[in-house]
Amino acid sequence: MSFVANDYKPEQPPPRKESGALGWARANLFNSWFNTALTLLALYFLIETVPPLIRWLFIDAVWGLVGPDVCREADGACWSFIRLKYRQILFGTYPFDQQWRPLIAMILIVSVALLSCIRRFWQPWMVGVWIATLFIYITLLGGGVFGLRPVRTELWGGLPLTLMLAFVGIAVAFPISVLLALGRRSDMPIIKAICVGYIELIRGVPLITLLFMASFMLPLFMPSGVSIDAVLRAQVAIIVFVSSYLAEVIRGGLQALPKGQYEAAHTLGLSYWQMQRKIILPQALTISIPPIVNTYLGLFKDTSLVAIISLTDLLLATRQSFADPEWRRFFVEAYIFVALIYWVFCYYMSKYSQYLERVLNTGHKR
């Protein structure tokens, strides 16, 4: 039977139109007339914007340590401005010769934060590590002990201040928010009402009004003569603000737990706090970690609002860096620089929270 092939035909490469770069482009860019139009539009947009942007950012940019006159002549970005002023941007008004202290403090807190991202370290002793870290952080910044020169809080500034407001904010707000969340789910009407009222009141108003309240009203609330530091006042406002958001996140975690967990705990004869500590909270908090990281991310961005009440955080320090009339026109470079700092922190946090969401999503679902 000659018309039946008795061996396999050699494998042919796929048609050129469907493989390789061309095939990929066909499948992903030009698979319909609408997509083709979109692609062409996007390409046009990219060609119009990207090359000039790259030229401005890199090729025509001034990189050397030169004065504003040279920059004014150039067509590109003036990175020498950042090179000259980066310490003012990063540390604000912190005494120049003492800036190694906030630097060490930042390295410390960022490394502890990175270590806490590893799930193996999610142990009770981590809480102790964090308390110690925050304590060391504030001591390093404030000084006054171990031969460190005291530095008044008015001088704290830049990234160290931003990090402190965010980390201390979330650390102190966390226990408060657990209590609020439990209170909101409690069946004691008065406690529930108080917690709901607090949470909804704070979530209903913008952070800036809380900051104004902290800076204008808090001094009136104190017994006559007691004055609170401006930084601490802002910190209190941030704690109050973030605790209500965290409480809602944790409540979400509590609600996500199957009812059986509560029933099982009751069956074992555990008291309310035993049940919360041993059964409910460990699970609820684990589920809540990704949204907690997201809340933290939001808080990290929101700390920039303290610039409005004149605390020299990263954003205000940046604005002060180009207050010099000679450098005023280079604000774009300064903003790009700090935007990059904020972006790196926030982007990796959001990626981490997405990663956790995938990893932690293995347990029970609603």
């Binding site: 992903n28 692609t39 004691m188 108003v205 961005k301 954003l315 903003y335 935007a339 972006w343």
Partner: protein
């Protein structure tokens, strides 16, 4: 749990019985609540008494009486409420509220449109578009809004031409460092009636929609909706305008001594705030839209297709109703966030509620009253948006069977 505790308490010998009632959860609950309530009240009393002493000691005025006294300062932008420096502080607050609402409402509409486009674009089968959209989303979400606002504001004032050299982007519409100036019709008695007629047109749309649905239920043919709607919404005001004698007078921006005067204007502060809020919030809405669409199982699309529905019907009748159910609640909270974030206007000098409140605070020194007013207004906005959205949510939600 009640029996349990009672049993444990009751089982104990003699001395335990005296504490038995403490182990009753109901009694303990009451004790806890009394303690907490007492603590809160004590704290409140402490703070209030401190405040009263301080206010008295420092002879700071109290009370809301100042709202009636003359403000004495000008406000740069007064769109909806007429205001002059001789008006009262109360009226100044009204201007602030109207300015907040103005930027928030326009921002919500624009952010929803942009966010939906970006969210759908991220799911596009077009690789380039999807990438561009995701870059947009990642940049917007991860840079503080305040920084973006400063950036936009700086850019607007640096990139636009000086006020006297305004460029015309459309005939009669100019862009410069004084903002966007455009022709505005000179006030005429018919204008309020035209606004009213739009409301009537909305009512007509609703009535027509009900009729169309009924007709569809009876005959199976769905009458056209789009054209009649446009007809109502445009036709009614035009008819009223014609009845009013078709007033054509328009106030055109013209070059004055320093800048273009006349017409209506959007200040650079307003534009920067609007741009910032829109781009920032759209980044979040995009993610919500994307998640919402992804959350509808693929089987729904397949099932709808196997029923022989057209692609556009699949989207409109099957996918969207389900996706919207997931999208609406988080979008509501984004709308709330946008409204609250509009308070950052104070940093770039747009006279919103917080900015006006802050000025009043500085001129009168009455911090408690001014901040309370601000907070109360935002609470009111928040509560009304969430009530409205809850109501809408209830209407749109599919009844699960």
């Amino acid at each position: 749990m009640a029996e349990q505790a009672a049993r444990r308490g009751g089982a104990g010998p003699g001395p335990r019985e005296s504490t038995a009632f403490l182990r009753d959860p109901r009694i303990r609950a009451i004790i806890y609540q009394v303690l907490v309530l007492g603590g809160v009240i004590l704290l409140a009393v402490y703070l209030v008494s401190n405040t009263m002493t301080n206010l008295e000691q420092r002879s700071i005025r109290t009370g809301f009486g100042f709202l009636q006294s003359e403000a004495g300062f000008y406000i740069g932008e007064t769109t909806l409420v007429n205001y002059a420096a001789s008006d009262s502080y109360g009226r100044a607050f009204l201007v602030g509220i109207s300015n907040t609402l103005r930027v928030a409402l326009i921002g919500i509409v624009l952010a929803t449109i942009l966010g939906t486009i970006a969210g759908v674009a991220r799911l596009s089968s077009n690789w380039l578009i999807a990438k561009l959209a995701s870059i947009y989303v990642e940049v917007m979400r991860n840079v503080p809004l305040l920084l973006q606002l400063f950036f936009w504001y700086g850019l607007i004032s640096a990139a636009l031409p000086a006020s006297r050299d305004a460029v015309a982007i459309l005939p009669g519409t100019y862009l410069s460092r004084s903002g966007l100036q455009y022709p505005a019709p000179i006030a005429h008695w018919i204008h309020p009636w035209m606004l009213l007629s739009i409301l009537v047109a909305l009512g007509a749309c609703y009535a027509y929609y009900r009729w169309a649905k009924q007709k569809q239920a009876q005959t199976g043919v769905e009458p056209r909706l789009f054209l009649p709607f446009v007809g109502f919404l445009l036709g009614f005001p035009v008819i009223v305008w014609l009845i009013g004698g078709a007033p054509m007078a328009v106030d055109m921006p013209e070059l004055g001594a320093f800048r273009l005067v006349g017409g209506a204007a959007m200040s650079p502060e307003f534009l920067a705030l609007l741009l910032g809020l829109t781009f920032y919030t759209a980044g979040f809405i995009a993610e919500i839209v994307r998640a919402g669409i992804l959350a509808v199982p693929w089987g729904q699309t397949e099932a709808a297709s196997s029923l022989g529905l057209k692609r556009s019907f699949v989207l409109r009748l099957v996918l969207l109703p389900q996706a919207l159910r997931i999208i609406i609640p988080p979008t509501t909270s984004q709308f709330l966030n946008l409204t609250k974030n509009s308070s950052l206007a104070v940093a770039i000098g747009y006279p919103d509620l917080v900015s006006v409140g802050n000025t009043t605070l500085n001129q009168t020194g009455q911090a408690i009253e001014c901040i309370s007013i601000m907070m109360a207004c935002y609470l009111f906005f928040s509560l009304s948006i969430s009530f409205f959205m809850n109501w809408y949510n209830k209407n749109i939600a599919l009844v699960e069977r």
